[in-house]
């Protein structure tokens, strides 16, 4: 649905994005990266606010810049705005529904539907200036989906939301993705993104560092061994046995009488498949078993720090 | 109480040995910068920090100096005009307007006054003031971004903040006003020093300095007052420019309407025709140069000089306007954001 081919964009001497090639398909894709990574530039390119300096950007088969045909099927929720405070939420969504090309007769009902969809029915007739941050985000999502777009791009939709609000917005987005929409979400809140989707685009310094399923990416990072924390009454004995395994790099106990051993391995799949047999064979009593490393944050940190180190070198 | 963990000092390396990095054994990064105990700038310079930051943003933009350079043109034209035709014009003026010839020295102050009160100069100085006081460095922009909460959470007070913003506008306008004026003065000094320039106009340097300080202080005070009450730099620009221009076009019309009641040369009519923001500045400049108003390059049809307006009403008007503006700014500046429901 969204295709970038060797797209670059610079602002004078500053590079916004650098030779980015990727395909974004239906479902939720999280756009991640530290500040200044190029996420906003990428979003502006996808939403047709900017043109690439080189390369191509196509959305639904067409270049999006100033293209009404693309915008009929694209919804955008920007991060910031200031000027709508005097309008009620309903009026705001209605105005943008009109601008979205919906038939005038169907707009009132459609607006009511999307306002109910985002859970703003009670507050729709209040001025946006009196809304909380979460309410503003919901109204922005409402205007983004009022014309039932096939592609929805949201810039930091979870910012400023309380945990309940984040859960609700996450639910909304998941519901849209289940309908076959292509949803692109830019966010800093990694653990929430992890609940939202496994499909990520990771950027840093204007470059695309990784794209795809987070666990697949994780498993491909050979240089960074997986850590697995295992709790057991016989942690020391367990550690001795684990060290005999060829694919275990290290086993660490924090104290001689510690009940947790932290194992490092480059072959987590092999470890996971053989560990249960080993435990049964030796009768180890395992209390808990988890991988603190197998998450988005560790992938993010590793790839971003690695690219940062290379950039400074 | 020092809440930071003590840093383990690095192992001293023998001379000549390769330097090795010492890995600190604390998981918390080095926060020793928080315990800065070096020299601190005295409080009297707090305003300068605010001023310097705003000036840096403004003065590094090439278009600012591009616009400022236009101010050179009136002075350049007067320098050329006086060099080639000055003495002839002065003689004709002296014949046409005997009142001028009675003045002890009017040649050079007349040039300086005419260049200063030229419309181009006034427009450019107003533009510079608007760029400094109603742009991205203005109080209105800080209101818009809720930056006052940040400013006033630092060890600076309202007065420091206002003074810093005021000085930004003041210095910007003063520099743009003073450089061309001083250049013209130096031109006269170098070319006419042996022809009685210093004798004829010994205080011209002081008059020039005083008159360039006028628009700087005036615009700075009024703009600070208007910007403090606004959250939109655009509106500040529109309001201040609008006030300037509406009063500037209305005052002469008002003067003409009332000229049958107060004759043209009466002090009342003179005051009315100077009843505008720019008129106050022009009237004060006239008094500083002690010069009647004669349109030097374009002689008016009626052979008539407009005398100086009275000084004290203009001084009082300018002080009142500046005082009200500054008081309004001080009353409005708050560190908190008031949210209306």
């Amino acid at each position: 649905m969204i295709v970038l081919e060797h797209a670059s964009r610079w602002y004078g001497q500053v590079i916004g994005i650098n030779d980015v090639s990727c395909r974004i398909m239906p479902g939720i894709t999280a756009l991640l990266g530290p500040n200044g990574a190029g996420k906003s530039t990428l979003i502006k390119l996808i939403t047709g606010q900017l043109r690439p300096s080189t390369g191509t950007v196509t959305v639904l088969g067409e270049a999006p810049f100033a293209n009404p045909r693309v915008f009929r099927r694209l919804g955008y929720c920007p991060e910031l705005e200031r000027g709508c405070d005097d309008m009620t939420g309903r009026y705001f969504v209605t105005l943008l529904a009109h601008m979205g090309g919906l038939p005038s007769a169907s707009i009132p009902q459609r607006v009511s539907e999307v306002i109910e969809f985002v859970g703003m029915t009670e507050n729709a007739d209040r001025k946006i200036g009196g809304y909380s941050k979460g309410m503003r985000q919901r109204i922005k999502i409402a205007q983004g989906v009022v014309h039932d777009p096939d592609v929805l791009v949201l810039d930091e939709p979870l910012n400023g939301l309380d945990p309940i609000g984040r859960r609700e917005v996450t639910g909304l987005l998941t519901g849209l993705a289940d309908k076959g929409k292509c949803v692109v979400v830019s966010s800093h809140i990694l653990y929430e993104v992890e609940h939202l989707t496994r499909n990520i685009l990771l950027m840093n310094h204007g470059r695309l560092l990784a794209q795809g399923d987070i666990y697949t990416i994780r498993s491909l990072i050979d240089a960074h061994p997986h850590r697995i924390a295992i709790r057991s009454k016989h942690a020391r004995a367990l550690a001795i046995h684990l060290l005999n395994l060829p694919y275990v790099l290290s086993a660490r106990l924090d104290a001689p009488d510690a009940t947790q051993v932290e194992v490092e391995t480059r072959s987590p799949d092999t470890f996971y498949s053989q560990f249960p047999d080993m435990v049964l064979e030796h009768g180890f009593d395992i209390t808990s078993f988890e991988s603190p490393d197998n998450n988005l944050e560790s992938v993010f940190k590793y790839l971003v720090n690695e690219s940062g180190t290379k950039a400074t070198q | 109480m020092n809440v930071n963990p003590p840093m383990i000092p690095p192992i001293p390396t023998p001379p000549g040995a390769p330097q090795e990095s010492v890995v600190p054994n604390s998981p918390i990064a080095d926060l020793s910068y928080r315990n800065y105990d070096g020299p601190l700038r005295p409080p009297i310079f707090r305003w300068w920090t605010v001023c310097r930051m705003s000036l840096r943003l403004l003065w590094k933009k090439p278009w600012f100096w591009g616009i400022a350079a236009i101010c050179l043109f009136p002075y350049l034209i007067h320098a050329i005009f006086y060099y080639f035709a000055g003495s002839v014009t002065i003689q004709i003026l002296a014949i046409q307007f005997p009142e001028l010839a009675d003045l002890p020295s009017f040649k050079f102050p007349l040039q300086m006054y005419s260049a200063f009160t030229g419309n181009i100069n006034s427009i450019i100085l107003l533009t510079i003031a608007l760029l400094a006081g109603a742009g991205s460095t203005s109080i209105a922009a800080d209101n818009q971004a809720n930056a006052l909460q940040v400013y006033l959470s630092k060890p600076i007070g309202k007065g420091d903040y206002l003074l810093g913003k005021w000085m930004c506008i003041f210095l910007s306008v003063f520099v743009v006003a003073a450089i061309p004026a001083i250049s013209l003065y130096l031109f006269f000094l170098t070319v006419y020093a042996t022809q009685g320039f210093l004798h004829d106009a010994p205080w011209l340097w002081l008059q020039t300095l005083a008159v360039t300080l006028l628009p700087a202080a005036f615009h700075a005070s009024l703009l600070v007052g208007i910007a403090a009450w606004s959250r939109s730099p655009r509106m500040v620009t529109a309001i201040y420019a609008g006030l300037n221009f509406i009063t500037y076009v209305m005052a002469p019309v008002l003067g003409r309407i009332l000229s049958h009641v107060y004759h043209r040369d009466t002090w009342q009519n003179l005051l009315i025709t100077h009843a505008s923001l720019q008129g106050i500045l022009d009237g004060l400049a006239q008094n500083i140069f002690h010069m009647p108003d004669v349109n030097l390059l374009f002689i008016r049809r009626e052979p008539h000089l407009t005398p100086m307006p009275p000084l004290w009403p203009l001084v009082i008007a300018s002080l009142v306007l500046m005082g009200i503006s500054l008081a309004a700014a001080r009353a409005k500046i708050h560190a908190v954001e008031v949210v209306k429901g």
């Binding site: 047709g48 105005l95 | 608007l130 529109a238 221009f245 019309v253 374009f298």
Partner: protein
């Protein structure tokens, strides 16, 4: 129908209470002047009605209200959206950009013209009484004001579509180049006055020339008076400015990039 809705929204935005206050102030200003003039009518040497009308019309309505409103409202069509960061919403709608800009500009044109026309009607009624609108001066002004709004409005709209600080540049042009320089142009030799838009309006309505301007350069060039502008040239130039500037604004807005910015003005 969506065009109508957008147009209504643009009108609603322009007719907000704060903006109406500004309009009221701009209408009240010349009104107060002419009321003051009426109070002086009993004096033998009071200014005649035609003179005062010409003065107020030339200096205040055409020289100030028209220019100020055109600058502020026309530049706000684009700048306000960028400053409020709502431009992202507008530019990602399935509406051709030029159409959106045109709808907003039409709203600006109507409001600006209405304010200026109301000002003319009010001062004509006060100066001339009930026969005010039958006088030549007010009739000419009411016919000319829409052209004036269109000319200056489209010029400043194009400036806004091209440059980052259109309000200040527009003010410098409107009150610097046009107002100030036209004073010199009125007495400048030859065709110098052809460089100023206000000269063309004065060619179409000679009563707009303020009475104490145009002091001749008696000492220097009495043999080179200013070249008068023929009426056909005035219409041609003003119409061309409207068409070219409006067309240029629509073209540039359709093809250039606009992103939210804090220092839009």
């Amino acid at each position: 129908m969506s065009d109508l809705y957008l147009f209504q929204n643009a009108l609603k935005d322009l007719l907000r209470p704060r903006r109406l206050l500004l309009a009221l102030f701009l209408i009240a200003t010349p009104t107060l002047l002419v009321i003051l003039w009426r109070m002086t009518l009993k004096h033998a040497d009071a200014i005649p009605p035609d003179s005062i009308y010409n003065e107020v019309s030339g200096r205040i309505i055409f020289g100030f209200i028209l220019v100020l409103l055109s600058v502020v409202f026309s530049t706000s069509v684009i700048s306000q959206e960028i400053e409020n960061k709502t431009v992202s919403y507008l530019l990602t709608r399935p509406l051709p950009r030029w159409r959106f800009l045109l709808l907003k500009f039409i709203a600006v044109f109507l409001v600006t013209t209405a304010i200026a026309e109301i000002a003319v009607i009010v001062i004509a009624q006060i100066i001339y009484g009930s026969s005010g609108l039958g006088q030549a001066g007010p009739r000419q002004d009411m016919a000319l004001l829409p052209l004036g709004v269109l000319t200056f409005g489209s010029l400043f709209l194009m400036i806004a579509s091209l440059l980052n600080r259109p309000l200040i540049l527009g003010l410098m042009y409107g009150f610097g180049w046009e107002s100030v320089m036209s004073i010199f142009a009125a007495s400048a030799p030859g065709s110098f006055n052809h460089l100023f838009l206000i000269s063309y309006f004065r060619a179409l309505a000679p009563h707009l020339m303020p009475s104490d301007e145009g002091g001749s350069l008696q000492l220097f060039n009495s043999n080179l008076p200013p070249t008068p502008i023929p009426i056909w040239l005035a219409w041609t130039v003003l119409s061309s400015v409207c068409v070219l500037c409006l067309g240029g604004a629509l073209y540039f807005f359709s093809t250039r990039e606009y992103v939210p910015r804090d220092d839009a003005e």
